[in-house]
């Protein structure tokens, strides 16, 4: 990124942190958490411990970070190297990202930027101008991406509350600031679980690793009586609703399943896993030493805020997560995709000089689709 772009982003970010510090949520047990931050065009600084709001405020104003992070884990000594920190426990966190959902709409708003000649194209393999394979994927998520991600959050909440005894008010949903949601679970029985245990929990939530026997199907002489009922709780109930469709079809479908055999049943399980499992990123949940974007901080991939979603159904990130200023800025934009922020449409721009509000300029510069002119 060029220097005047960095200067512009830093100014905008600093103003945000000065004016909107109230949006930042310092987690409970602050002094037991590890904090970290990144500056524009620079590496990660982590293993920082912070006492309270004031210290965090100071850190933000002094460093003007591009991204700020905080651990889901609590440690005795958060500022020491990883193996000396003395891990105590960690909140259960899930990451749902639109880019992992294999959505049809993605191709309409994903472009590729060549790292060598800056050419922007829709070709995902190599640069159409210089043939380089060093290309970077850039996506401007659309409403469909957000809605699909919300749907995964709903599925996840249901599994957490119905099967795993998590209370609804202990589930906090945040917009990640770019393409998805972070779901935090507090006060659960899972707080002290290690990485391998959390990994199996993710398979449960994603409906991964299922065997036909769990749903009554056997290799030899399957018994009709062991197939799930419509009213059953947990996965057997969700399986029934998805596979039988309705109570009246149960008997007929079971006969079909038995006739089609064991491996066909296995295939059915794999097919429905996308629909009934929640598509979380398993690597995030099983990492118990990770630092996560701090709620209320800005995401340097977009300039949008990682913000708490009070009413997920109504939540629109392009209105509710955009907090930067309105002042007009001149930019050189090469942004072939139209986007909408604060109810205003922008683009498409094809290598042209335009004047846009700060929040839109930051959005495009963060996506590397514009530079200050």
């Amino acid at each position: 990124m060029q220097e005047n772009d960095i200067k512009f982003l830093e100014d905008s970010f600093k103003k945000y942190y000065f004016e909107h510090f109230d949006l930042i949520r310092v987690p409970n047990r602050t002094s037991e958490r590890e904090f970290g931050f990144q500056k524009f065009n620079s590496g990660m600084t982590r293993h920082i411990s912070i006492k309270d709001d004031k210290e965090l405020h100071l850190l933000l104003m002094k460093n003007i970070p591009s991204d700020v992070y905080c651990s889901n884990a609590c440690y005795s000594f958060p500022n020491l190297p990883m193996n000396e920190k003395d891990w105590k426990d960690a909140d259960l966190i899930f990451d749902i990202d639109a880019k992992d959902l294999n959505l049809e709409c993605r191709k309409n708003h994903t472009i590729y930027k060549c790292n060598e000649c800056s050419e922007i194209s829709t070709n995902s393999n190599n640069c159409s101008k210089c043939n380089s394979i060093k290309i970077e994927k850039k996506s401007l998520p659309c409403k469909n991406c957000i809605d699909a991600s919300k749907n995964e959050v709903y599925k996840l909440s249901k599994i957490l509350t119905e099967d795993l005894d998590v209370q609804q008010n202990d589930i906090h949903v945040y917009f990640s600031g770019n393409e998805g949601f972070h779901v935090y679970v507090y006060n659960s029985q899972f707080q002290q679980l290690g990485s391998r245990e959390r990994s199996d929990l993710t398979d449960y939530i994603m409906f991964n690793g299922v065997i036909p026997e769990t749903f009554g199907m056997k290799k030899f002489k399957p018994n009709r009586l062991s197939f799930p009922d419509f009213e059953e709780k947990g996965w057997r109930g969700r399986f029934s609703k998805e596979v039988y469709g309705s109570k009246s079809k149960r008997s007929k479908i079971i006969s079909e399943l038995i006739t089609n055999g064991y491996s066909s049943f296995q295939k059915t399980l794999e097919d429905i896993s996308d629909k009934i499992g929640s598509k979380i990123d398993p690597n995030v949940t099983m990492d118990i030493h990770r630092i996560f974007r701090l709620p209320g901080s800005l995401n340097s991939k977009s300039g949008l805020t990682k913000i708490f979603c009070n009413d997920l159904a109504k939540f629109d990130p392009y209105i509710e997560a955009s907090f930067l200023g309105e002042n007009s800025v001149h930019v050189m934009a090469n942004c072939p995709i139209e986007f909408k922020l604060k109810n205003r449409k922008f683009g498409p721009y094809f290598n042209e000089k335009v004047s846009v509000p700060t929040y839109a300029a930051v959005y495009m510069i963060c996506k590397k689709l514009a530079t200050i002119s």
Partner: protein, 341 residues
């Protein structure tokens, strides 16, 4: 510690304080080596180890959960305690492991029976308490099942590689896992074995007792037949081959895949400098970063932690597994192509 009745010590002898038990009964170890009436107990102890080494469960004199006669009870306990003394004197770890596992399997049978006991509530309560005290698993009875919190379940189930133990293949409701008595006990088998073997390993080794030399020497020669040799074909497993192909084509291999390849090759003894060029076709290649990360994985920089190659189960979750028949139920790519002879 639990207060145990006579027949309970016979079923779960590892719960007894060995030294105390002998003292209470008025015996010293030396007596067992010399007293002709007691010597048969040393033979019984030897036999108990021999059966375990063979991979079988020692068939005790207990009938059902009652001893056939009152004299049988102390004999059961003595033979267990003497077996430990013999094992300690022999110093053979392979035998200790086998013995601990067999004893765990034996105790498992009794635990299961006690847990499923409908006529005697106190027996069931004891089993539940043993499981709670020793392994911190809180078991409750609910209808025909035993239920335990999901988090407790996971702490133990992750040691199993069979898919049926995955949480997804369990009946889960309201944060609880539903298990049969058999499954409840099976869940803690490994920990039971670890508990017993740690008790043996931590026990003090007494000086050689006269009369014990012969069985001890026999144990030492017995343990020799368990030494195994392995050979490797040297061929890479399909997951590693696949990942290397992607890297060679210059396509993007996700972080988890790079982690797998790097840790695998490091474990196979390749150096950081030998591995680094593999990544040079990657779209985001940066030599400095690659070397830094490889050194980190090798433990030569950073925290000094040496990272190991992920398990097959984990690679399956990350869509990096491309299993072929030759994988043959291995649980880590590093085991691929290894054969015992």
């Amino acid at each position: 510690m639990l207060a145990l009745g006579q027949d309970e010590i016979a079923k779960y002898p590892f719960l007894a304080d060995a030294g105390q038990y002998l003292k209470d009964k008025g015996f010293t170890l030396e007596q067992f080596g010399t007293d002709p009436d007691l010597k048969s107990l040393v033979e019984k102890a030897f036999n108990r180890i021999e059966v375990a080494a063979d991979g079988k469960i020692y068939h005790s004199d207990l009938i059902g959960d009652q001893a056939s006669n009152q004299a049988a009870l102390p004999r059961e306990v003595f033979s267990f305690l003497l077996a430990i003394v013999l094992l300690k004197l022999s110093g053979m770890t392979t035998l200790i492991k086998r013995f601990a596992l067999a004893e765990a399997r034996r105790a498992e049978k009794y635990l299961e029976k006690d847990l499923a006991n409908i006529s005697d509530e106190s027996k069931k309560q004891l089993a539940i308490r043993i499981i709670d005290d020793l392994f911190s698993v809180q078991v409750k009875k609910q209808d025909d099942y035993f239920v335990i919190p999901v988090s407790d379940y996971l702490k133990h189930s992750i040691n199993f590689h069979e898919r049926e133990w995955k949480l997804i293949n369990r009946h889960v409701e309201n944060g609880l896992v539903f298990l049969t008595p058999h499954e409840t006990v099976r869940l803690i088998r490994k920990e039971l074995g670890t508990y017993i073997s740690s008790k043996i390993i931590n026990a003090k080794t007494p000086p050689m007792i006269s009369g014990f030399e012969e069985p001890v020497n026999k144990l030492i020669s017995m343990s020799k037949k368990f030494t195994t040799f392995t050979i490797t074909t040297g061929e890479y497993p399909p997951c590693i081959k696949h990942a290397i192909e992607i890297l060679e084509k210059g396509e993007n291999l996700p972080h988890s895949g790079r982690f797998m390849v790097a840790t695998f090759l490091l474990s196979k003894g390749q150096s950081v400098e030998e591995i680094a060029p593999l990544f040079k076709n990657a779209p985001d290649y940066n030599e400095r970063v690659t070397l830094y990360q490889l050194n980190h994985l090798a433990g030569t920089s950073g925290s000094g932690t040496h990272y190991s190659c992920p398990s097959c189960e984990k690679l399956k979750t990350q869509n990096l597994c491309f299993a072929i028949p030759e994988c043959d139920n291995i649980i880590n790519p590093l085991q691929f192509g290894k054969k015992r002879i």
